[in-house]
């Protein structure tokens, strides 16, 4: 554990010394927040809650990008092999990536909530407990997905290409940028197989304070399972050496990472609960005069 914590501190130091980190992790989410509130929210307090859920999703999903790029850079530059000489295991290396990312994501999340509350007159804090749990699990799960990409790619170019492809799906099919409710029915059904959809609907429900305990349990289960499976796969496929080949079994492992969400997607398609949740959340944006349910006294 002390090795993981030592590595976590190192990762955090490196991140805060990196200008690109500040731009992508702090400036860009805030630009998105201001843009989305102006464009979608149009200043309506109810809609701000919906927008906040989407922005939190984008912030958390950003974990997917940074870690894979950093891990591949470390491997390409021979940094990982120096750590390999020391009593440092793959689990500590991967866990430190996830933890440092989490500790750096959390302040941005808090800042976004505070801005929405005080600058954009968000009526309620939303379900802060649920937000905390979803952000924690989401940032860890998406970081672990990124680490799988890092494990199956050899160069930075390859990593960025695959990241872009997956990121586009996360971005546009999850409801984080374009509300899922406006998509045709068949596309909504496809979106149920994407991990990002669970984070987006979960955070939207939590921010709008519309989530029921059952819905939250579903989101939390999906993200927890995603995290556990993705972490184990990235651990199995972890490579220290730049010249180490991607093992043949990698494709099978990557398919295994998709299994939980294939199962969840199939289940949600049968029950239709999540799509109802998506439409209900969207009404916050669509019907800006709609009062918040379970609104806490101010």
């Amino acid at each position: 554990m002390s090795t993981t914590w030592t590595l976590t501190k190192m990762r955090m130091r490196l991140a805060v010394r990196n200008r690109a980190f500040f731009f992508f992790s702090l400036v860009m989410p805030l630009i998105f927040l201001f843009g989305a509130v102006m464009f979608f929210g149009k200043g309506a307090a109810n809609a701000v809650a919906y927008v906040l859920g989407a922005i939190l999703t984008l912030t958390v999903m950003g974990s997917f990008w940074g870690l894979s790029v950093q891990l591949v850079t470390f491997r390409e530059q021979g940094i990982l092999r120096r750590f390999r000489l020391a009593p440092v295991g793959a689990s500590a290396m991967l866990a430190s990536s996830i933890l440092s990312n989490y500790f750096l994501t959390m302040p941005v999340v808090v800042l976004e909530i505070i801005i929405c509350r005080y600058a954009f007159h968000l009526r309620s804090w939303g379900n802060l407990g649920a937000i905390f749990v979803l952000v924690t699990l989401g940032s860890a799960a998406f970081a672990a997905f990124g680490l799988i990409v890092a494990s199956v790619t050899n160069t930075m170019q390859e990593t960025q290409m695959i990241n872009n492809l997956i990121w586009m799906g996360f971005l546009f099919l999850s409801g984080a940028t374009v509300p899922l409710a406006v998509f045709p029915g068949w596309l909504q059904r496809c979106a149920l197989f994407i991990p990002a959809t669970y984070l987006a609907t979960g955070l939207e429900s939590a921010a709008t304070n519309l989530a029921t305990a059952g819905e939250m349990a579903g989101d939390i289960t999906a993200l927890t399972l995603g995290l556990v499976v993705a972490f184990e796969i990235s651990r199995q496929l972890f490579r220290w050496e730049p010249e180490a080949k991607v093992p043949r079994r990698a494709k099978i492992w990557v398919l295994a990472a998709l299994l939980p969400f294939l199962a969840f997607g199939a289940w949600e398609n049968v029950t239709g609960h999540r799509l109802s949740q998506v439409r209900r959340n969207f009404q916050m944006l669509d019907n800006r005069a709609m009062p918040l349910r379970m609104e806490r006294p101010r």
């Binding site: 021979g78 940094i79 120096r82 020391a86």
Partner: protein, 313 residues
């Protein structure tokens, strides 16, 4: 000495019949040697001889195809952290994050180990005190290498592996590294050093294994090896016109003659006689001498004698 791992009388590094292939390429072919505790042992050979593959197997970074490897009585591949706690290493190609400070790097690595050296003392010893707050990316090549050496010692290891520790460094920095390795010898550390620099092996190593094509072709102290090469003097000459090396081989005192890139390397048991005979021969052939250099016997001569090639060909 840490208990329960290594027993006195047993070599601290043991390599027997080691094999390593990369596809069709046989990098290491039945290599064997043993290193005693407190020894500075050199693997000397040209690039591609199999030195780095061997040392990386010893460090636990590569898996051998066949053979026995023991370091401090442990199998590097399967002993995991118990093995890593006992060894330090400088890799031939490695790096650290550019935005990590010198002090942070050495302290971080120290925290990974149960036994920790005084990191301030190490920075002082390796003349990095003034650079303690500098980013790794701002260090010169020599400073990076000194930091790599300091980091190899953060766990006060029993065995230190140095893979080409001076490759690509300027002569002054190289001499600084030599001083550090000599200090390790005084501290009775076991050091396994790979190099293709003759002077490095001769100056630093108690014993040297000359490696070529993945095999040990000679092993002994530098003095023993040189004595084994018949104690001949090496005379390198460049001529205006080429001559058959058979003619030069017949000159007085010449034990061996080989041609390398237009120059002739003669091994002579009687230097003066050979030079006189050479000059006479060139006069009779109407040839001219462009340059002549005389070298006392070195490990390079041993290598040439054994392989017919220069170390850095």
């Amino acid at each position: 000495m840490r208990e329960g791992i290594y027993s006195v009388g047993q070599p601290i590094i043991q390599v027997e019949d080691l094999h390593k292939n990369y596809g069709e390429v046989q990098a290491v072919r039945g290599l064997s040697f043993a290193v005693e505790q407190g020894e500075v042992f050199g693997l000397l050979g040209p690039n591609g001889a199999g030195k780095t593959s061997t040392v990386e197997i010893l460090e636990g970074l590569r898996t051998p195809d066949r053979g026995l490897v023991r370091v401090c009585g442990l199998d590097p591949e399967t002993s995991g952290n118990a093995f890593k706690q006992n060894v330090g290493a400088v890799l031939q190609s490695t790096s650290l994050p550019d935005k990590l400070r010198v002090k942070e790097a050495i302290e971080m690595f120290a925290q990974f180990y149960r036994t920790r050296a005084d990191t301030d003392q190490l920075l002082k010893q390796f003349q990095l005190e003034e650079k303690r707050s500098a980013f790794y990316g701002h260090l010169s090549g020599g400073q990076k290498q000194r930091l790599a050496l300091a980091m190899a010692l953060v766990n006060n290891p029993q065995v230190v592996f140095l893979d080409e520790p001076t490759a690509g460094l300027d002569p002054q920095v190289r001499r600084e590294i030599y001083d550090i390795i000599e200090q390790l010898r005084r501290e009775k550390k076991t050091v396994l050093l790979t190099t293709h620099y003759i002077e490095e092996a001769e100056r630093l190593c108690d014993r040297v294994a000359i490696v070529d094509h993945g095999q040990v072709i000679a092993l002994g102290t530098p003095r023993e090896l040189k004595r084994g090469s018949a104690g001949t003097t090496r005379i390198e000459v460049r001529l205006a016109r080429p001559v058959g090396d058979g003619a030069l081989r017949r000159l007085d005192g010449v034990a061996d003659c080989r041609e390398f890139d237009g120059s002739y390397v003669l091994h002579s048991s009687s230097t003066a006689q050979t030079i006189v005979a050479l000059v006479k021969h060139l006069e009779s052939e109407n040839n001219e001498l462009h340059s002549l250099e005389i070298f006392s016997p070195s490990l390079e001569d041993v290598f040439i004698e054994l392989t017919g090639r220069r170390l850095r060909e």
